[in-house]
C-alpha cells in the first residue's frame, strides 16, 4: 500500500522547488528517466481487464525493469478524513524479459509515457519520496530517444508526486507525515489526492522569486 498525493507546478518554478526540497530533505536529488509502459490484459485473462505497468529505468547503465501494479484506493469515511490517497500497490524488479512475458500472457500495450525529472528519497516520519517530473507522450511507438516523436503532455507544467509506502497498521501515521511535509511546500504548490484536480497556487511566483533570490546576500 502507499500514500500518494499529486500536484502540478509551472515549469518556471521547478528550480525554486528543487532548492526548497533540497533544503527540506537534506539528501541529494536523483535524476529520473523512466519509460513507462502501461499494459492491459486481454480478454483471455479474465472478465475484468487488469492493468499493469512496466517501468524501465533508463538512467542506469543497464536498463532496470520494474513491474508495478496499482490497485484500488481506500474508500469510505476513513478515506475522506485523511488528506492523502491510500491505495494498494505492488512493485517488483524484473528482468528485461518482463515485457515479452506479459505480451506472451496476452497483455497489450495500452499507452506509454516517458518521465523525466528528479526525485528525493528521505525519511521524515515515514520513508517519503518526492518526485518532480515532466511527462512526455510518444507519437510513435517506443520513441523514447528521438526528440521529434516525443512531446510533453503538458508543456509548461510538471507533475509533483509525493508517495510513501504504508501498511494497514501504520497508514495513519504515514498519512500524517506526508501531510505535514506537504505543508512545507504550500507556498509553491498545492498537493492533493490524485483524483482531485487543483490549479496552481497564486503565491507560487512570489515564493519562487524569494527562493531564487536567496542566493544573493546583501551587504548590510
Amino acid at each position: 500500500m502507499e500514500c500518494v498525493v499529486q500536484g502540478i507546478i509551472e515549469t518556471q518554478h521547478v528550480e525554486a522547488l528543487e532548492i526548497l526540497l533540497l533544503g527540506l530533505c537534506g539528501v541529494p536529488k536523483e535524476n529520473i528517466r523512466v519509460h513507462e509502459l502501461c499494459l492491459k490484459s486481454g480478454p483471455n485473462l479474465g472478465s475484468e481487464a487488469s492493468e499493469i505497468r512496466i517501468l524501465c529505468d533508463l538512467m542506469q547503465p543497464e536498463p532496470a525493469w520494474t513491474v508495478r501494479h496499482v490497485g484500488g484506493s481506500m474508500r469510505g469515511a476513513g478515506a475522506d478524513q485523511i488528506s492523502v490517497l491510500l491505495r494498494t500497490m505492488v512493485e517488483s524488479k524484473a528482468s528485461k524479459n518482463v515485457l515479452r512475458l506479459f505480451y506472451l500472457l496476452g497483455y497489450k500495450l495500452d499507452h506509454e509515457l516517458l518521465r523525466v525529472g528528479f526525485a528525493f528519497h528521505f525519511q521524515r516520519g515515514a520513508q517519503i519520496t518526492v518526485s518532480v517530473s515532466s511527462y512526455s507522450k510518444m507519437l510513435k511507438l517506443h520513441a523514447t530517444e528521438s526528440n521529434d516523436d516525443n512531446v510533453p503532455v503538458s508543456p509548461g507544467i510538471q507533475m509533483v508526486e509525493v508517495t510513501a509506502p504504508a501498511s494497514a497498521e501504520n497508514y495513519t501515521e504515514v498519512a500524517a507525515a506526508v501531510s505535514s511535509f506537504c505543508e512545507y511546500l504550500a507556498p509553491l504548490l498545492h498537493l492533493s489526492k490524485p483524483g482531485l484536480s487543483t490549479g496552481v497556487v497564486p503565491t507560487a511566483a512570489a515564493a519562487a522569486a524569494s527562493l531564487m533570490s536567496f542566493s544573493g546576500s546583501t551587504n548590510m
Binding site: 483471455n44 515485457l99 500472457l105 499507452h111 517506443h142 503532455v153 509548461g156 490549479g199 496552481v200 497564486p202
Partner: protein
C-alpha cells in the same frame, strides 16, 4: 573628540559645544532646562575621554605585538576589551538618560563610518538642500501669509491630518494585500497574480497532465495509427522482436509469422521448424508436404484419409473439410505445423504413433500442432510414460468421434491456458507447456509434457491414467477449468477427463485447452490464434456442449 557620543540639535537650533559661545538668548533657556544635564554632560565627556584613551592604549599594544610577531595573551586582551565594552555601555546609558530629547547618537560605530558620522549626524543642511527647503516652505505658507498665525496653524494642522489619513488608508491597503497574498493557500479560488485566462489555461493543462499520468487519457494511439519508431531505443532493442508492433494488437495473423525467429531456446527453435514443416499437413489442405524423415511410422496405425502420402502427418490428419476460419489461420499455422512435424520425427517411434493419433484428432486451429512440438521437451522423461500408457491411450483415442473433435479444439486452448498459468507460477520455461488436448492420447502426452518440468505431475498423471474411478473426480475438477491458477493436480484431472469418452466431459477440456494454450513457447501465436479460432469454432457446429462451454470461458 572622536567618541561614541555626538551631540545633535534638538527642536531649537542650538549647538552644544564646549568650545563655542552660545547665543545669549538661548543660553538662558538651555541653562534652565539643562542645568543638571550640563553636569552630567561634563562627566560623560570625561568618561568618554578616558574610554578613548583606553582604547588607544589597547591599539598601541596590538601594534607592538604585531611588530614583534608575538602571540598576544588572549586572556589579557579579552579582559581589556570587556573593560572597554563595559565602560562604553555605561556612557551610552547615561547619555540616553540625559539627552533623550535632542541627542542623536549612532548605535554602531566602526572603522567604516567613524569618519563620516559627524557629517551624517550634523543637522545643518547642505546649502542647496537648505535653499530648497526654504523655497518649499515659502510655497507652503504662501497662501497663509496674510492670515494670523493661529489660522495658519489651523490650516497646517488640517493639512497634516489629511496627509495622515491618506497614509493610514494606504497602509491598510498594503496590509490587506499582503495578507491575501501570503496568507491564503487555496488553489483555484484565489487567483490574484494570474489573470483569469492564464489561470484557466494552466488549470486545463494541469488536468490534462493528471489524467494522462493517472489514467492514460490522451495517450492512447489507435491501432491504425501506431507506427513503430525508426530506431528502437537501446533498452527495447533486445527485448522486443523485430517489428513487434503486432504484438500489441489482438490480431493473431502477425504473431505467427513474427514470433518464430526470435525464439531463444534451442528447443523452441526446433519446435518452430517442426511446426513449419508440419503445418500444411495438419491443416488438411492442399499444401506441400513437409517431406520429413520417419514419416512412414505414422502410417502404420491408421489409414490416412489425407492425400499426402509421404508426410508424417498424413495419417494423422483426420480433419474434415477445412473450415473457412481454419483456412484463414492456415497461414500462421503453417509454420507451426511444419515445426511440429519435424519435431515429431525426432521422437521415438511409439511416441510418433501416439502423436499421430493425437494429431488426427487435434483441432484445426493448429493448436494441437503447437502442443505437439512441446513434446520435444520431454526427452527421456516422457518416453517411459508413453510406453506405459501407450496402449490404453491408443485405444481410447480411436473411440473419440468427430463430435469430440470439435470440442477438443476449444478445450485445448483452455487447458493450455491453465497449465501455462500453473507453470508460470512454478517459474518454468514457457516452451514446455504444450498441451495436446484431444483425446486421451493427447491427454497422456499432455500429462507427460506437463510432467517434464514437474515430476510430481508425472506421477499423478500415471496414477490417474490407470485408474478408472478417477473419472468422476475428474469431472468435478474439470468444471473448474475456468480458473487460471490450476495446480498440476487439477490439470491432470482435467486432462483425464477428456479421456473419459463422454461428450459431457468435453466441457472442462475445452476450458483447459483454451487456457493452457497460452503457455506455449511460441505462445503468442497460440494465444492469439486461439482467439480468432475460438470464435469461428462456435459458429461452425451446432455443438451444444461446445457453445455452453464457450460461455464458460
Amino acid at each position: 573628540m572622536d567618541g561614541p557620543m555626538a551631540v545633535g540639535h534638538g527642536q531649537q537650533p542650538q549647538q552644544q559645544q564646549d568650545q563655542q559661545q552660545q547665543p545669549p538668548v538661548k543660553v538662558v533657556e538651555r541653562l534652565n532646562t539643562a542645568v543638571q544635564q550640563q553636569l552630567n554632560l561634563e562627566s560623560v565627556k570625561t568618561r568618554a575621554i578616558s574610554l578613548f584613551k583606553a582604547i588607544s592604549r589597547i591599539l598601541e599594544e596590538f601594534e607592538v605585538l604585531s611588530r614583534n610577531n608575538s602571540v598576544p595573551k588572549w586572556h589579557d586582551v579579552s579582559s581589556s576589551f570587556s573593560m572597554v565594552n563595559l565602560e562604553l555601555f555605561n556612557i551610552v546609558e547615561d547619555i540616553k538618560k540625559v539627552s533623550k530629547a535632542f541627542v542623536v547618537h549612532p548605535k554602531n560605530v566602526n572603522a567604516e563610518n567613524a569618519a563620516i558620522l559627524p557629517v551624517m549626524i550634523s543637522s545643518k543642511l547642505l546649502p542647496e538642500i537648505e535653499a530648497d527647503d526654504n523655497a518649499k516652505r515659502e510655497q507652503l505658507l504662501y497662501a497663509m501669509q496674510n492670515l494670523p498665525v493661529s489660522a495658519q496653524i489651523e490650516k497646517l494642522k488640517a493639512r497634516i491630518d489629511m496627509i495622515g489619513a491618506a497614509c493610514e488608508s494606504a497602509e491598510k491597503v498594503i496590509a490587506d494585500t499582503r495578507k491575501t497574498y501570503f496568507g491564503t493557500r487555496q488553489g483555484p479560488t484565489n487567483i490574484l497574480t494570474l489573470d483569469k485566462a492564464q489561470a484557466a489555461k494552466i488549470q486545463e493543462q494541469g488536468n490534462a497532465l493528471r489524467n494522462a499520468v493517472n489514467h492514460g487519457q490522451g495517450l492512447r494511439i489507435p491501432m491504425e495509427q501506431r507506427q513503430m519508431t525508426s530506431a528502437l531505443p537501446a533498452h527495447l532493442a533486445d527485448v522486443l522482436p523485430i517489428a513487434d508492433s503486432t504484438q500489441t494488437i489482438s490480431d493473431s495473423s502477425g504473431m505467427y509469422m513474427k514470433n518464430t525467429p526470435p525464439v531463444s531456446s534451442n528447443i523452441v527453435n526446433n519446435q518452430a521448424t517442426l511446426m513449419q514443416a508440419s503445418g500444411s499437413q495438419l491443416m488438411g489442405r492442399a499444401a506441400a508436404s513437409p517431406g520429413g524423415t520417419g514419416a512412414s511410422s505414422f502410417d502404420n496405425t491408421t489409414a490416412s484419409p489425407l492425400p499426402y502420402a509421404n508426410s508424417p502427418r498424413s495419417a494423422a490428419n483426420m480433419m474434415n473439410t477445412p473450415s473457412p476460419q481454419q483456412q484463414t489461420q492456415q497461414q500462421h499455422q503453417q509454420q507451426q505445423q511444419q515445426q511440429r512435424q519435424k519435431f515429431i520425427q525426432q521422437l521415438p517411434q511409439h511416441q510418433q504413433q501416439m502423436l499421430a493419433q493425437q494429431i488426427r484428432q487435434s483441432p484445426m486451429t493448429g493448436l494441437g500442432q503447437n502442443q505437439l512440438s512441446q513434446l520435444h521437451d520431454l526427452q527421456g522423461q516422457a518416453q517411459n510414460k508413453y510406453q506405459l500408457h501407450g496402449q490404453s491411450q491408443m485405444q481410447f483415442s480411436q473411440s473419440l468421434g468427430s463430435q469430440q473433435f470439435q470440442g477438443r479444439q476449444l478445450s485445448s486452448g483452455g487447458i493450455q491456458h491453465g497449465i501455462s498459468q500453473s507453470q508460470l507460477n512454478q517459474g518454468n520455461q514457457l516452451n514446455r507447456q504444450f498441451n495436446q488436448m484431444s483425446g486421451t492420447a493427447n491427454s497422456a502426452l499432455f500429462n507427460a509434457a506437463q510432467a517434464t518440468p514437474n515430476n510430481q505431475m508425472m506421477s499423478n498423471m500415471s496414477a490417474m491414467m490407470t485408474s478408472q474411478p478417477h473419472v468422476a473426480r475428474m469431472q468435478q475438477y474439470g468444471l473448474s477449468g475456468g480458473s487460471h491458477n490450476l495446480g498440476s493436480q487439477n490439470m491432470n484431472d482435467q486432462v483425464f477427463n477428456m479421456g473419459a469418452g463422454n461428450p459431457n466431459t468435453m466441457m472442462p477440456m475445452q476450458q483447459q485447452q483454451h487456457g493452457s494454450q497460452g503457455a506455449f513457447g511460441n505462445m503468442q501465436q497460440n494465444t492469439q490464434n486461439m482467439q480468432p479460432g475460438m470464435v469461428p469454432m462456435q459458429n461452425q457446429q451446432n455443438h451444444t456442449n461446445f457453445q455452453q462451454h464457450r460461455q464458460n470461458q
